[in-house]
């Protein structure tokens, strides 16, 4: 089977006939990774050694992403639900798929809450959080109902703008106020905080890309999947390092660790220009991409488990539930940060590591069997 045949086979079997290009996948993948991680700064607990955590966590995260890509390549044209059904059998496969539906809904709710808290803390302190979350969810619902193609085109349109303004423009604006030795001394508090932060970073945001197993089958060319994902993961890792060095050089290790929303504070420090609203909009773009992908994946998985012809029939109900869950899940912002740091990485392990690992082993076995029967 040559490469052309593989690509045709990949495209023809996709249940929803939507197709996305490599550049669109690249953009939404970076948008997803950048998403809420810019708000929560997952490596901040390592203080001035966070750059080491970003590198270690990034390498571990890249391994996880390699595993997801390998699963997708071993099961061409199948979504996560179809892979689960074919590897575990219909009953167990559907049960695990329902757990994943919950995981995607929960993830969407957490990101909604992150952005709700961000907006009511820094921009609209008088507005009830449910209003900001509700309006944001309505926009996300519109995007999800428009389909994966429209979501990808939006990513293609907005993500470069977001990266340009939040990464390059902001950093250049602050070039005169930086202390380039602020990340020294190395390993002042030992290696443990670095390892803890790297572990947290692996599950958030890298491991969360398991949701893309519902999106990969829409890529119009299977041959490019590995390259696109490797490039976007590498780009995000470099971007994270760049953002870290900018933050720590401007704020210093202590403030970097203490501040709630570092990108917002950075925007406020730019002399003579008010970039606050631009930063808010850009953070909402990243969050919007992440939430839409999660709701899309949940609705699509639900429709495949229960044999519903169109995932759009479930999107309203799922989005409403996500809004309610995002309000219900935490009592306040401190609980949100504490939970995301202490509980989320452990809760995510089965979804991000164990189940995909089992799927990879079963897929490799089945591939081996197929090859030996062919020969």
């Amino acid at each position: 089977m040559d490469r052309m045949d593989i690509e045709n086979n990949w495209s023809d079997k996709v249940t929803e006939k939507a197709k996305i290009s490599s550049i669109q996948l690249f953009m939404i993948f970076i948008g997803f990774l950048h998403g809420s991680s810019v708000i929560l700064s997952p490596a901040a607990s390592a203080k001035n050694d966070a750059w080491l955590a970003i590198i270690f966590g990034g390498l571990g995260g890249a391994l996880l992403i390699c595993m997801y890509v390998a699963i997708a390549l071993l099961n061409p044209s199948k979504t996560l639900v179809q892979i689960l059904q074919s590897r575990f059998g219909t009953f167990i496969g559907n049960a695990v798929a329902i757990l994943y539906i919950w995981y995607f809904i929960h993830l969407a709710s957490l990101v909604l809450r992150n952005f709700g808290e961000f907006i009511v803390t820094v921009t609209f302190p008088e507005t009830p959080i449910v209003v900001t979350i509700g309006i944001f969810a309505a926009l996300v619902l519109y995007a999800v109902n428009s389909g994966i193609e429209v979501m990808s085109r939006l990513g293609e349109l907005f993500v470069p703008f977001m990266l340009f303004s939040t990464v390059i423009v902001m950093s250049l604006s602050l070039i005169t106020t930086q202390d380039f030795t602020a990340f020294l001394p190395l390993l002042e508090n030992g290696i443990k905080p670095v390892i803890d932060a790297a572990f947290g970073l692996m599950s958030f945001p890298y491991g969360e890309t398991v949701v893309f197993l519902m999106v990969f089958p829409h890529l119009n060319s299977k041959g490019k999947l590995k390259g696109v994902i490797a490039l976007s993961t590498g780009t995000y890792m470099i971007m994270s390092l760049f953002i870290f060095f900018r933050c720590i050089a401007v704020m210093g290790a202590d403030l970097f660790y203490r501040v709630t929303f570092s990108p917002h504070l950075i925007a406020l420090l730019i002399p003579e220009v008010n970039m606050e609203s631009l930063i808010d909009v850009n953070l909402l773009i990243g969050g919007g991409i992440k939430i839409s992908i999660c709701i899309y994946a949940a609705a699509k998985a639900l429709s495949q488990v229960f044999g519903i012809s169109d995932y759009r029939k479930m999107t309203t109900a799922i989005t409403v539930f996500c809004v309610v869950l995002s309000i219900w899940v935490y009592e306040n912002i401190l609980e949100m940060f504490d939970w995301a740091q202490k509980v989320w990485p452990f809760y995510s392990i089965p979804f991000q590591v164990f189940i995909p690992l089992i799927l990879l082993v079963l897929s490799l076995k089945s591939r081996k069997k197929q090859l030996s029967s062919d020969s």
Partner: protein, 70 residues
């Protein structure tokens, strides 16, 4: 409470006629009703100030019980 009930009524009135017009299978309506009614009940409890333990608390409790986190 009244606002919450109104929002959910509008949502259901918007979707339900489409389901009936397209003669959707019962499972579609049941799953839809499950999500909407769960959301409505939780919203009402939150609005009434009787917040039930959240999934975050359940998950934390389970992980603590099995000794994964302290």
């Amino acid at each position: 409470m009244a606002i919450i009930a109104a929002v959910f009524t509008i949502l259901v009135l918007f979707d339900l006629p489409r389901f009936l017009k397209n003669k959707e299978p019962a499972k579609v309506i049941i799953i839809y009703a499950f999500f909407i009614s769960t959301s409505l009940v939780i919203s009402m409890l939150l609005a009434a100030g009787k917040r039930p333990p959240s999934p975050a608390e359940w998950i934390e409790w389970i992980l603590k019980t099995i000794g994964v986190i302290k």
